[in-house]
Assembly symmetry: C2
């Protein structure tokens, strides 16, 4: 069986990232975006790194079913952009000021307005930032779809495959993703005890797995160059990605509570201040004393919570093994996911997908 050195995985991941960046850096795209504030806002997260986990599995799934990954490059860049616009809009909704170690788009342009128009009120300056971020996300959404059309227009992929993927992305994926985001907001307004682990994981599945699932379906159908979602390999990859996506999000929730903020680029305690409903909190809440429950309910969702209050919540989560139990769930998802890879031929791409699954729950960023 083909196996990989750990550094081979990272080298391949970084090579995918470079190829996607190259696509997104093409000048004929950039010249589309005017005025300057729009161009800069559209490119902010796009060129600022990120792990590019989505483009990577798309390209590797294309290879895993026997296709040429380079043909799938426009789709790989498209899913990265699709993910990006959802981040830009989510950051507005979650009122997050920091991402990837820098300002979020709306916060950056809040600061731009402050410098450019010191005479305006802070509220006006802030509104300018939100306005630019709404438009930047809209443009990235459009750019993403326009890249998908290149599959047929430039790379020889069957137009029926291309249209099928566009329809999937702008119908199924977007509706589930947005529904997950809205549930996330609504859950934050509901009492902690009302939500089950299933509620939370269903919301996580919508927020994350759905786009991962699209990536593998896109990679596989482009590799096969025919619309064949009932194909056994496609089916195995879809099941694989669905399980991986939830595990990814569970790991994200863990990093949101005990992650190193210098590594993750997000402030400590953000998820707690926002009141994010996670399985970590759920497990702790279920077993906590009345007094501890009061601390959890009082701090979760309190935007003004002090570092001491945040620390107290983290202590309670740790006391009831919220982190370990969530990590254990994530591990079990990845184990089940990896079994599906056995349906695929033994290639370097399959080995990369297995390493990718392991990485999802071992990463610290």
């Amino acid at each position: 069986m083909i196996t990989l050195q750990r550094n081979e995985f990272f080298e391949e991941l970084s090579s995918c990232a470079d190829r996607v960046r190259e696509v997104l850096n093409r000048q004929d795209y950039h010249s589309r975006f005017m005025p300057d504030d729009l161009r800069n806002s559209v490119m902010m997260y796009t060129l600022s790194g990120g792990k590019r986990l989505r483009p990577a599995i798309l390209l590797w799934c294309c290879g895993a079913v026997g296709g040429d990954p380079s043909v799938a490059l426009p789709a790989a860049a498209a899913v990265e952009l699709f993910h990006t616009w959802t981040l830009v809009h989510d950051d507005i909704i979650d009122r997050d000021d920091r991402r990837r170690g820098g300002s979020t788009v709306h916060e950056h342009f809040h600061q731009v307005a402050k410098e450019r128009h010191p005479e305006l009120s802070d509220q006006e300056q802030r509104h300018y930032g939100v306005s630019v971020a709404v438009l930047a996300g809209d443009v990235q959404h459009g750019w993403s779809i326009s890249l998908m059309t290149e599959l047929a227009r430039k790379n020889g992929i069957d137009p029926a495959v291309t249209l099928h993927l566009i329809e999937q992305l702008d119908n199924k994926v977007i509706n589930l993703l947005v529904s997950g985001e809205l549930l996330d907001i609504q859950y934050c307004q509901r009492p902690l005890e009302e939500l089950s682990v299933d509620d939370i994981e269903n919301m996580l599945w919508k927020k994350t797995s759905v786009l991962y699932r699209f990536c593998v379906e896109a990679g596989a159908l482009i590799g096969l160059n025919r619309v064949d979602p009932q194909n056994e390999q496609v089916h195995a990859l879809v099941e694989f990605s669905s399980l991986c996506g939830t595990a990814f999000q569970l790991q994200d929730d863990i990093l949101g509570v005990i992650g190193n903020s210098e590594r993750t680029g997000k402030p400590v305690g953000n998820d707690i201040r926002e009141g994010k409903r996670t399985t970590l909190v759920h497990y702790a809440y279920a077993d906590a004393t009345e007094e501890e429950r009061a601390v959890l309910s009082g701090t979760m969702g309190n935007a003004e919570a002090t570092p001491q209050q945040i620390e107290r919540v983290v202590e309670i989560i740790q006391r009831y093994d919220g982190v370990e139990r969530t990590a254990e769930r994530a591990r079990r998802y990845i184990e089940r996911a990896r079994k599906y890879l056995e349906e695929l031929p033994d290639t370097k791409y399959r080995a990369l997908l297995a390493a990718w699954a392991d990485y999802l729950i071992s990463r610290d960023v």
Copy 2:
């Protein structure tokens, strides 16, 4: 030459509106949108009327080049939705509370949050409204593109035509439209005297004509069922729509100042309070006295302007014939536009397009 009775035009327009409404009312679409707040927000403007001017010319252009308009229905519904999501996001950006005689999406869900969670602060309730509206627009954008794919997947249109139109919509149209919207915001922050009529009309062209131009191109290419943008009839229709779009927006600016708010569904003086840069104000400013200029500069963009102050601005605009001069410009655009229709065969559809052009500048809503 085929001519129409005035009521024939309105009957045909209303029949287009009904057919588009029927498409948008299909239950298989509605069941995609969850939870309830999302479904309701997505459907708010979609089913609330509107003039459906865009779907109408798309269908008529399809007929004008000899095609069967009913084949183009998914595209007609798609452009209406595309227009709708830009309205939903623009209303957030312009902080408009009213549209089409009802609440805007973000304001409606601000009120929903107020009723559902009276314990939250007004700021939190308002943020919920904005969040729902951002997501609703995103979903409508996706829905619009997914409808476009039906041209090939269900209606027998060449996939190359379908992909070309999707690429046009999510690349050219969106980039120009968003650039127009951002210029509009930035212009409101600049002194009145800095902007020329050309600056203003270029911004209007981006905000409005670009989507009209897409509608005629889409209708014509679907009617021809081939990608042939150099075709003389397509070219004539594109020029026609580009001129009509600017005239439409000039009429909108007139109604924004002297329109009957019960008819337009928008509060009197909104555009003035927002400081919208229009040719009406431009003409008045150019000829006004120092004292009148101070009134214009002081009131335009003052969100707290009193009805008396608004009235004073309207008086100054009227004194320097801002309305008449803008109306005259709009009339000249429509005259030039109608000449292009002579390139098309003499059909009922051509007569409808001519009546449509006249309607753009005679309408009071």
